[in-house]
C-alpha cells in the first residue's frame, strides 16, 4: 500500500533561519501521526508544506504516491483544522461547513444535507444557523473539524487543534478526536507542543528540534527508549546523566537517561537490590503532587536527579526533608543510552 504522505529531504529556510532541514518521513494510510516539538522546531512549517501554504526550498512531497510539491493547496486532497479555527465570520455555521462543497459546485440541497450530517457527527446538529462568534471555543473547534472533513480528504491536518481550549475541554476533545479518526479511517497528522497530547493520541510521533526530526517512534518507544538527550528531556522529562557522572554510575554509554519514577529511594540503611546502581545525594526540594511526589537530589556537582515516589495506599511516611541525605538506586536496564 502506498504511504498516505511521504516527505523526502524537505528543506525550508526563512532568510538565515533554517526552519526545516532535510526532513524525511513516511505516514501510512489511516495513521494518527503527531509532529511534536517546542515552538520554532519546524513542526508547523512541516505541516504548512504538506497543506501547500508554503513551498519547500528543496525536497519532495508525495501524497498517495503523487508528487504534489508544487501543487497549490486547493488542488491537494488534504484539509486543515487551523489553530485559530479560521471560521468565516460572515457565514453561518452550516455555510462554513458546506464551504468545501460550495466551491466544488455541489447543489444547494445536497450541500445542506451533508453539512447537517457533518454537524451531527460533531454533535452540533442544532447549531447550523448560528454565526461562529456565537459559539464557544470548543464548539468552534468542532465546526472547524466538520468543515475540514466534509470533502472526505485522504489526510486531515490539525495545527495545534486543542491549543486554545482549557484543560478539561482539551481532554474531552482528545478522546473525541481519537474516536473520530478511528471511525472515519482518515489519516490524521497533527502538530502539537504538548508531549502528553502526542503520547495519548498518536500512533507514531516525530519529535522535532531545530528543524530536524530527533526521533520518530511509537509513543511507548519514545517514552521508554529516547535516543537523544533532547527527546529524553522533552518527552516525559527524564533525567539526563552525562560526562563523568555517567561513567561513575555505570553508564550505559557516555550519556544515559533515567525516568524519575524508575529511581528507588532506599529506606534507612537497607542495601540496594543485587545488581542495582546506587548513589546518594542531598535533597534540594520536594513537592507533593497527589498521585506522586517529586524531589530533586543533588548527586554531584553537575548532576541533579529528579525522583518520583508513587503515593502508596496507607503510606504514612513523610517525604524526606530538604537537606536530608538520601540513597538512590535503579536497575541498570532502566538506564537508556543516548546518542550524542
Amino acid at each position: 500500500m502506498l504511504p498516505a504522505i511521504e516527505l523526502r529531504a524537505l528543506r525550508r529556510a526563512f532568510g538565515p533561519i533554517v526552519a526545516l532541514d532535510s526532513v524525511s518521513l513516511t505516514i501510512a494510510p489511516g495513521e494518527f501521526f503527531a509532529l511534536l516539538g517546542p515552538s520554532g522546531s519546524g513542526k508547523t512549517t512541516c505541516l504548512r508544506l504538506i497543506a501547500g501554504f508554503d513551498q519547500p526550498d528543496s525536497g519532495t512531497i508525495l501524497l498517495d504516491g503523487d508528487d504534489v510539491t508544487s501543487t497549490p493547496p486547493f488542488a491537494r486532497d488534504v484539509n486543515t483544522v487551523f489553530q485559530d479555527y479560521a471560521l468565516f465570520p460572515h457565514m453561518t455555521v452550516a455555510d462554513n461547513v458546506a464551504y468545501g462543497l460550495r466551491v466544488r459546485g455541489v447543489a444547494a440541497a445536497e450541500r445542506a444535507r451533508r453539512a447537517r450530517e457533518m454537524l451531527d457527527l460533531v454533535r452540533l446538529g442544532e447549531f447550523g444557523t448560528r454565526r461562529p462568534h456565537e459559539l464557544s471555543g470548543g464548539q468552534r473547534q468542532r465546526v472547524a473539524l466538520a468543515r475540514a472533513l466534509i470533502n472526505h480528504p485522504k489526510v486531515l491536518l490539525l495545527d495545534e487543534p486543542l491549543g486554545a481550549l482549557d484543560l478539561k475541554l482539551r481532554e474531552e476533545m482528545q478522546a473525541e478526536l481519537k474516536g473520530l479518526q478511528q471511525r472515519l479511517g482518515i489519516t490524521f497528522v497533527f502538530v502539537t507542543h504538548d508531549q502528553d497530547e502526542a503520547l495519548s493520541m498518536a500512533d507514531r510521533v516525530a519529535v522535532f528540534s531545530n528543524g530536524r526530526i530527533e526521533q520518530l517512534d511509537t509513543p511507548r518507544e519514545l517514552y521508554n527508549r529516547p535516543q537523544t538527550a533532547f527527546v529524553a528531556r522533552f518527552v516525559g522529562s527524564a533525567n539526563v546523566v552525562q560526562g563523568e557522572t555517567a561513567q561513575r554510575l555505570g553508564g550505559p554509554g557516555r550519556a544515559f537517561a533515567i525516568r524519575p519514577e524508575l529511581i528507588d529511594v532506599l529506606p534507612g540503611t537497607a542495601a540496594a537490590p543485587a545488581g542495582h546502581v546506587q548513589c546518594s545525594g542531598e535533597v534540594l526540594d520536594a513537592l507533593y503532587h497527589g498521585a506522586s511526589s517529586r524531589m530533586r537530589v543533588q548527586v554531584d556537582a553537575q548532576t541533579i536527579l529528579a525522583v518520583d515516589q508513587a503515593e502508596l495506599r496507607g503510606a504514612t511516611s513523610a517525604m524526606p526533608a530538604v537537606g536530608a541525605l538520601v540513597r538512590l538506586a535503579w536497575h541498570p536496564d532502566h538506564a537508556v543510552p543516548l546518542r550524542d
Binding site: F53, F74, T80, F88, P89, H90, G100, R102, V103, A148
Partner: protein, 303 residues
C-alpha cells in the same frame, strides 16, 4: 459609618466625571452639528413670499414640490447623482487592487511608502489641485500633449466627440470633471478599504484555499464580503463628497449645474434659503437610503 450629606458616593462621583468628560463633545455634536442640520431641515420647509422674495416662517412643501417638478432642478439632481455614482464605482474599481496590494502583499517599507503616497496629495491645498487639473486638462495642456506624444490624440478627440460627456476639451467636459473627482476622492476609498483588507486574517484565505476554492473563488467568497464594510465606508465618502462639492464642477468641466453649486448660489446670490436647504437635504436622504441598502445587502455583517 453613614455617608455625610452633600458627599458623592463613589459611583456618583464616577458618573459626575463621566458626564464632565462627555459633555463638551456631546454639546458640540448636539448643537453645532445636529442643531444646524435641524435648522437646515426647518428652513427647507419655510415659504418664500413671491413678491418680496422674503422668507416667511410658514410651513409649506412648495419648495420640495418645486425641487422635484421643475425640469431644470431634476436635471441638476440627476446630473449630480449620476456623477457621484460614476465617481464612486470608478474609485472602488481603481482603489481595490491598490488597497489589496497595500494590505496583503507589500513589504512593511513599501506599505509605508504606499500610505504616504496615498495621503500626500491630501496635504496640498484643495483649490491648488483643482486649478492644476484645469491646466493639465486644458486644450493645450499636458494631458492632450501626452496623448499626442503616444499617437493617441485621435482617440482623445473621438472621446470628446461623445455627446453629453464630451466637450471642446477635457477641461470643459464631464469626462475631465469625472477624472478630477476620482483623483480627489480616491484616497478616501483606498484608506478604509486597505484597513478592512488588513483586518482579514491570513488563515481565512488559507482555509478557503485549503477547502478547494480557486483564488478567484476565495476572492469572491471571502475577501470581497469581508472587505464590504471598508467598501461601504469608502463609497459613502466618495459618494457624499461628490454630491456636496461645488468647487470642482465650477472650475473644471461642462457648464451644467451641480447640487453643491445650486446650494451655493441659492443661499448666496439668489437668497432663496429654502430652496438651498431643500437641495442640501437631497444628499442626506440619498446617503441615508444608501446606508439602508448597504445594510440590507449585508455590507456590515462582517463587522
Amino acid at each position: 459609618m453613614a455617608s455625610r450629606r452633600g458627599e458623592f458616593s463613589p459611583q456618583g462621583r464616577q458618573a459626575f466625571y463621566f458626564a464632565l468628560l462627555l459633555a463638551p463633545p456631546l454639546l458640540w455634536l448636539g448643537i453645532v452639528y445636529l442643531g444646524s442640520l435641524a435648522t437646515l431641515l426647518l428652513q427647507s420647509l419655510y415659504a418664500v413670499d413671491e413678491f418680496t422674495a422674503r422668507i416667511v416662517p410658514e410651513f409649506t412643501l412648495a419648495t420640495y414640490r418645486q425641487l422635484v417638478t421643475q425640469p431644470a432642478h431634476i436635471d441638476i439632481l440627476l446630473r449630480t447623482v449620476l456623477m457621484a455614482i460614476a465617481v464612486t464605482v470608478a474609485s472602488a474599481v481603481i482603489a481595490f487592487p491598490v488597497a489589496l496590494y497595500m494590505a496583503r502583499y507589500a513589504s512593511p517599507r513599501l506599505k509605508a511608502l504606499f500610505y504616504v503616497g496615498v495621503m500626500l496629495p491630501m496635504w496640498t491645498s484643495y483649490l491648488v489641485k483643482v486649478y492644476a487639473w484645469r491646466l493639465i486638462l486644458a486644450k493645450q495642456g499636458i494631458a492632450s500633449w501626452g496623448f499626442e506624444q503616444v499617437g493617441m490624440i485621435g482617440a482623445l478627440d473621438r472621446l470628446l466627440e461623445v455627446p453629453v460627456v464630451g466637450g471642446p476639451s477635457l477641461a470643459s467636459s464631464y469626462i475631465g470633471m469625472f477624472v478630477v473627482f476620482v483623483y480627489m476622492w480616491l484616497p478616501f476609498m483606498i484608506l478604509p478599504l486597505a484597513a478592512a483588507l488588513e483586518r482579514v486574517p491570513q488563515s481565512l484565505l488559507q482555509a478557503s484555499s485549503d477547502l478547494g476554492a480557486s483564488p478567484a473563488q476565495t476572492f469572491r467568497n471571502v475577501v470581497l464580503p469581508l472587505a464590504l464594510p471598508g467598501l461601504a465606508a469608502g463609497s459613502i465618502f466618495t459618494f457624499s463628497l461628490t454630491l456636496g462639492d461645488y468647487i470642482i464642477p465650477s472650475v473644471v468641466g461642462a457648464p451644467g449645474y451641480f447640487i453643491g453649486m445650486m446650494v451655493y448660489q441659492q443661499q448666496g446670490t439668489a437668497g432663496n434659503l429654502p430652496l438651498a436647504a431643500a437641495f442640501s437635504v437631497v444628499p442626506i436622504v440619498l446617503i441615508g437610503l444608501y446606508l439602508m441598502l448597504a445594510r440590507r445587502l449585508g455590507a456590515f455583517d462582517a463587522l
